[in-house]
Amino acid sequence: MNGKGKHLRRQTKVPLERVDKYTWRIPKEYKPGMRVPGTVFADDDLLKKMTTDRTLEQCANVAHLPGIYKHAITLPDGHEGYGFPIGGIAATDYEEGVISPGGVGYDINCGVRLLTTNLSEADIRPKLAELANTIFKNVPSGLGSRRKDFRLTSHELDRLTSKGVQWVVDQGLGWPEDIKHCEENGCMEVANPDKVSTRAKERGLTQVGTLGSGNHFLEVQKVDKIYDPQVAKAFGISHEGQVTAMIHCGSRGFGHQVCSDYLRIMERAVHKYKIVLPDRELACAPGTSKEAEDYYQAMACAVNYAFSNRQAITHWVRQSFEQVFKRPAEEFGLGLVYDVAHNIAKIEEHRVNEHTRKVWVHRKGATRAFGPGRVEIPADYRVLGQPVIIPGSMGTSSWVLVGTPKAMEVSFGSTAHGAGRMMSRTAAKRRFWGGDVKKALEQRGIFVRAASQVILAEEADLAYKNVDRVVEVSDKVGIATRVVRLVPLSVVKG
């Protein structure tokens, strides 16, 4: 026991200047190696939480990266990560800067997608438990989840990681219109399976179409409140009470192994290119190096894997609706609003000091939030800005926001990605019992299926920060504004 305090309270005090109610600056002078200041978007409470771990120190460390532009950003959901804080953005020059696998994370393209239906809560309430049970059966979740009915050969896995959602739809798992409603149209074309290790591929073979565990979930939800009716309508959301479905998961063992493999390669690159870093886990390589090119091509395979994973799960969710209601999925709508990545690095163009620069944008626990007009946004949303989907924790609300011009100015077109934990898993298990958590949710009309009681205790909503507060900061800063709040009707939890 006595070891704990010592390890928790080692962080030093990071100096902060308040810029406005929701914006804080870590001055560049804080550490001699910082190339830019740090910027933190948070309200007082969220900021206070960040001072209890190494979040702010890590933000200052990220500001050391060669070629970093403007500032290292920590978002309102920011918390301590590995090298980079989780809930952050770093943009570096394409040529003079670096790319870092730590700035993407282990779960490459962990992300979320939202489907809408033409059903209302009343239509679904009598069948809610049956629907949740059917989804739970059709979409493997939890520890070591794998599919017995959808096994890929290694050749097929290479096709999937090269072609992404298109390939999955070609196999009959999904509708052609799903493709254009994914970030990157569900495929980063730079993907090259030759840059992915055999071990990563082996880990990925049986896991396409599985949820995994931890904070990943699959929810049937309803629209709780519409904040921006015009944008909501364009995103397919017309009334409060409308039923939606949300899928939150990532690239499974495939992506974790790609990250792990390239962290080793990048550690060698740090020595080779004599890059000075304040933390081993910021390991990176110059943007124009072979190591950077290889990582980017391998990362893109994992990105495509995750898009494909969510696409396959979408198919089985639609199938679950068909099985329960005995009608074709199309009759319920079940169209894809959008699929967004939360852990990714991309080459993008941004305005920096009156110039348009080609940059590596690292989004680690951050959602792209492009404002109106960007060509990367699907044509039918382009005049409005892109849909930003922010999942809550178990039993709490989730959000749809819309990207803004302000995000293009201040956060490289990005915003927050979720709630972020408040309490450790150990503490949550001490404090909550899975059965009570389930009962409390059921009293609120939320049906829950989870792989185990332990998961329910660890994922209790009180163990997480309040996602509504995170979203409020995003909205007030203006880097993505509120469109719709969703609340769960049923939760399938890994």
Partner: protein, 145 residues
């Protein structure tokens, strides 16, 4: 203390922070592996039915701990085997650094019998420490969940 603690879970908000102990580096590595599987399941319910050999190499002790645990996670993902007993019988110096040889025992994961706790995505270097005192080695590390 009659029974020495083999490992414990320390406080960490987002993920799992482990301290594993042993009278030697080998023993501490064994207990680090045990703790890693305890995150995923109730290890006591896992039978040591199958035996496998593991060899990993790395340039230093930190990288060796990382690679050892990573190898076990890969085996779980690919072979679907939960491990419950670990014997690290040597950690030797090689021209490239260090080489670990171990035997590990476990059985195929069966959701009907084995408690499903949380899956481990990866080992990290974050806050990793290897503290060596005579007859008392402590390793600390964080698993990404």
């Amino acid at each position: 203390m009659s029974v020495k603690k083999r490992f414990e879970f320390l406080e960490h908000t987002a993920d799992v922070y482990i301290a594993a102990y042993g009278e030697s580096l080998e023993k501490a590595f064994e207990n680090a592996a045990l703790a890693t599987f305890e995150v995923m399941t109730d290890v006591e319910k896992v039978e040591p039915a199958t035996e496998d050999l593991v060899e990993v190499e790395a340039h230093d002790e930190y990288a060796l701990l990382y690679s050892w645990l990573e190898e076990l996670l890969i085996r779980f993902d690919t072979a679907n085997i939960l491990y419950c007993r670990f014997k690290v019988y040597s950690i030797e110096e090689t021209p490239a650094g260090l080489k670990l040889k171990a035997k590990i025992w476990g059985e195929p994961f069966n959701p009907e019998r084995h408690l499903q706790k949380v899956g481990v995505k990866a080992v990290t270097y974050h806050r990793m420490e290897i503290v060596k005192k005579p007859k008392a080695v402590t390793v600390r590390f964080i698993l990404d969940i």
